[in-house]
Amino acid sequence: MKKLLLALFCIATLALNAQQDTTKKGIDLGQIHGNFQADFQYYNTDTLIGAPIVPEKIRSNGFMNLTYTRGNFTAGVRFESYLNVLQGFDPRYKGTGIANRYASYAFDGLEITAGNFYEQFGTGMVLRSYWEPNLGVDNSFDGVRVRFTPVAGVYTKLMVAKQRAFFDKGPGIVRAADGEVNFNELIKKWEDNKFRLTVGASAASIYQKDEDPIYILPENQAAFGGRMNIGYGKFNLYSEYAYKMNAPSAVNGFIYRPGQALIVNASYSQKGFSVLLGAKRLDNMDYRSDRTATLTNLTTNFLPALTRQHTYNLAATIYPYGTQPNGEMAYQADISYKIKKGTMLGGKYGTDISLNISGVNDIERSAAPNDTFGYNSRFFGVSKTILFRDYNIEISHKWNKDLKTNLMYMYFAYNKDIVQFQNYASSVYGIIRGHIVVLDVNYKFSKKVGLHAELQNLYTKQDEGSWAMGLLELSISPHWFIAVLDQYNYGNTVKIERVHYVTGSVGYTRGAHRFMATYGRQRAGIFCVGGVCRNVPASNGLTLSVSTSF
């Protein structure tokens, strides 16, 4: 490790000199790029919202990525620091260190990588790793990877790696391969054909020693997937199927049943109009390189959501839906239409209307021959248990060159017991149903000064009751913005819990540098995955964020 660090340091020094030298001598010694982010938070105690005492008072998360490239060669390193880790993140992110380092070389259709890398096969149902620092997720692979393109249109990948777990690696060894053929690239005559065809297949196997004194566990756990994309003109049909062999784990409750998943997405799009129809089945598809891992740790695959990812505060944060790896049957329809400009409804600039309907139910389950197998389930068997419903419509209109509005209405139904607590046995909260209305206004006072305002209301009689939210954001380009946001739980049946969660923030941007200060309250939350629940405590305090890229 030390040698590697030294090597990277040498490369970095060389490259820094290189950048200066390049201009002088005209010799390419490569380039260094990177990005940096540091968040500091000062914590106040706040008994009203339950914000706990933080002994350190100030905590911070930070990272810096450095990438060196020269010709076909790329090397990179990421330093991470958690002193101590911000509340809401897993405390196993502790201290500082090199969390990611790699070198890669590409030539003659072959790309070789050693060290940490991110990879995805298809939609990721067999294998996907990614880094999301703001959520504390990094399941990068650490090992070797070969990507080979023998002829244009044929892509193959082969890899062996362990996965990152905080500042160490998980116990499982992941062996995986993927092949994809794009016939429109492979066959010259098809290059500009209306008919498009791509076919892919992937396989993975995880080795983890069985030393468990209670169960006899499979030490090699395999998963396979096949995918196909067919297009004709404006139509597109994507389908992917994945199968996981027996892999008892903490998340599935140590059952030996194999897992299956199917996703089908059909779409049609033309100027001003598009339709997307999707359907999905997931059955016992959690796949990790440690059978005892829970929450977001050491996931080897990724199960895509088939529900709209909302960005409006109340729709995104109060009842957010997360894919249920143990089982779901889902559908989604998404239609967008633009009313032409110059018409009565379209006005001078046109009006955009989008309708999105999605629904998720649990899969049907019936008793298996024995408990350890888990359950039986017909492939198209849908349970009556609703997990989630989201019917929303959005109308966006530009009134004149200074004023733009967006109106959203949403009906939702949310199974809090299963989605948040993975509690399949009893109904405590029931299905929470409600409505959300959002009005979003953007107004330009001048070329430099703009105002963004949002008014949101979530109406429900269940759980914590109704919420209102208001946002005012003033931007003075090119450098400044000031914002005030209030989330107000006005409908809470417990009067003392009708709390205002107010935050104010000021931001300054200069080129790639971004500074932001936020002061206020944040709500508590609970999330559970794989039989483990984590409480993200409420907080009250000042956050400073600095980020830049170069």
Binding site: F167, A177, A203, P213, I214, Y256, S426, N535
Partner: protein, 279 residues
């Protein structure tokens, strides 16, 4: 040949899968031997009365006790959000958190990492002490057959009238140990019947749940008292006297003294012993 590479790889990977057709459970192999000097392993189960998944961890401990018998010493530590008692209503009113448990939780980060979880002899797993309960058996299996490095003997004398317990702990070092060592002497109470949430049951709030072996407090603070000064040599013997007055609410017949010796740098437990107060 190059074109067949992915196909060959796929076939190889297909071969790399073990299908278990049953039986699915191991036969118990533990000898349950608790005579003489054996290595005993400490399992600390971080839990909460309102943690609906935590009964699964308690069941895991029971399964491991069935296999390894008295070679395992365990206690539950109620800590964090899911251990907070309710302030109103009729359920979850008792607070099972302790200053000792809170200090351990703060140091090791258990409740913030999501419950249930715990530690097995405080051995580290990739720089972290926290182990998922489904991993306890595996870690235990790696430790339990090693020869013991120390022997701990607990002698209790209990006055039922004053509820004072006086404890003598004799520690004998069996193998040379480098580093600094401390001894902790905790008190636990078994079979407390009280509320517990369980997501696998309906209704999920269980009024008469039996909480096994809960940590109640320490006779010599959270981090204990030093044993010797610096490295220990085989044959070294130490004796220490400790005492505590039991809380009026604790059932003395169910209380035990748990004493463990640990390395102050790694925090790893060398040996643990348990003895009932009224025995």
């Amino acid at each position: 040949m190059k074109k067949f590479l992915p196909l060959v790889a796929a076939v190889l990977l297909f071969a790399a899968c073990d299908k278990i057709e049953g039986p699915y459970s191991e036969k118990p192999t533990g000898n349950g031997n608790d005579t003489g000097a054996v290595r005993r392993i400490l399992i600390e189960d971080f839990t909460g009365q309102k943690c609906g998944n935590c009964p699964r961890a308690a069941e895991t401990i029971e399964s491991l006790h069935n296999i390894y018998g008295a070679q395992i010493v365990s206690y539950g530590v109620h800590a964090g959000f899911f251990a907070e008692p309710n302030v109103a209503g009729s359920k979850f009113l008792t607070d099972y958190r302790t200053p000792v448990g809170d200090e351990l939780d703060q140091f090791f980060g258990n409740s913030a990492a999501g419950l249930p979880n715990g530690m097995v002899n405080r051995v580290q797993n990739g720089g972290n002490y926290i182990q998922s309960y489904s991993n306890w058996g595996t870690v235990l299996g790696q430790l339990i057959n090693a020869a013991p490095d120390a022997k701990i003997k607990i002698t209790n004398s209990y006055n039922a009238a004053t509820r004072q317990v006086n404890t003598t702990v004799n520690t004998t070092i069996l193998n040379d140990l480098s580093g600094n060592y401390k001894l902790c002497v905790y008190v636990t109470e078994d079979s407390i019947v009280s509320w517990q949430k369980d997501y696998q049951l309906s209704p999920q709030d269980i009024e008469f749940y039996t909480h096994r072996h809960l940590l109640r407090g320490s006779m010599n603070t959270t981090w204990g008292t030093a044993v010797g000064s610096g490295s220990l040599v085989a044959g070294d013997a130490f004796a220490g006297n400790f005492s505590m007055t039991l809380d009026a609410g604790w059932n003395d017949a169910h209380c035990s003294v748990v004493a463990y010796l640990y390395n102050t740098a790694t925090k790893e437990v060398v040996q643990v012993e348990e003895k009932k107060i009224t025995q």
